[in-house]
Subunit: 127 residues, 2 copies
């Protein structure tokens, strides 16, 4: 396995995820993920979905529902250990005049070619 | 580095974290963590604290405040990749007649001896 020796590949993968979400791009969202039983996704305020089938069904529903928010990522921090990396970030969402924030921890795994998301775990920031 | 070849060591480390929280045991909480700049901790509804100094200050304040909740962990799922492991779990908290739940993603790193927490990321489960 060849692992990207810099944080840039991880940051790029993280940006592609939010770009797919913002543009409601199903193909790109599908491509971002490691599509295995290990995939986990917790949407803000919800319990985690386990395994690619359930994770993907949730993205299909969300991205098809319209009203995709503008998302501004702040406080991105990256940590890498070999072929695993994780990113913490604040997701600042603007949608229809409403604003909200979530704290995200995203885990990426290098598949030999590039970094793919294996966990997205987001929780609402309150007050 | 010798890495525990089973999920049991990860589950034990995760249990020690919640046991320290439930019993407000500062020494055990300190021992659970990898005490480095890589430590990250997001308490439910809050933005992540970065680095051991800020993480530890938050635990000192929380564990010294009294009123420690009973915590029942459900839906624990473990994934390991070499010396890194992550756990998703639902934290069901009971405190003073009130109940609440949080979704947690905990990342552990094997330090050559045992698994130590490097990230705790918890978000409230709503409605």
């Amino acid at each position: 396995m060849t692992v990207d020796p810099s944080d840039a590949g991880v940051s790029d993968a993280n940006a592609r995820f939010y770009d797919a979400l913002e543009r409601a791009d199903l193909d790109q969202m599908r491509d971002v993920w490691l599509r295995t039983d290990a995939a986990v996704c917790a949407h803000p305020g919800r319990t985690p979905l386990q395994g690619w089938d359930d994770v993907w069904a949730s993205w299909e529903a969300i991205l098809s529902s319209g009203g995709n928010p503008q998302i501004i990522i702040t406080e991105e921090r990256i940590h890498r250990r070999g072929g695993i990396a994780w990113v913490t970030a604040i997701e600042n969402m603007i949608s229809g005049g409403h604003t909200g924030a979530a704290s995200a921890l995203n885990v990426f795994e290098h598949d030999g070619e590039r970094w793919r998301m294996v966990v997205h775990h987001a929780g609402p920031v309150l007050g």
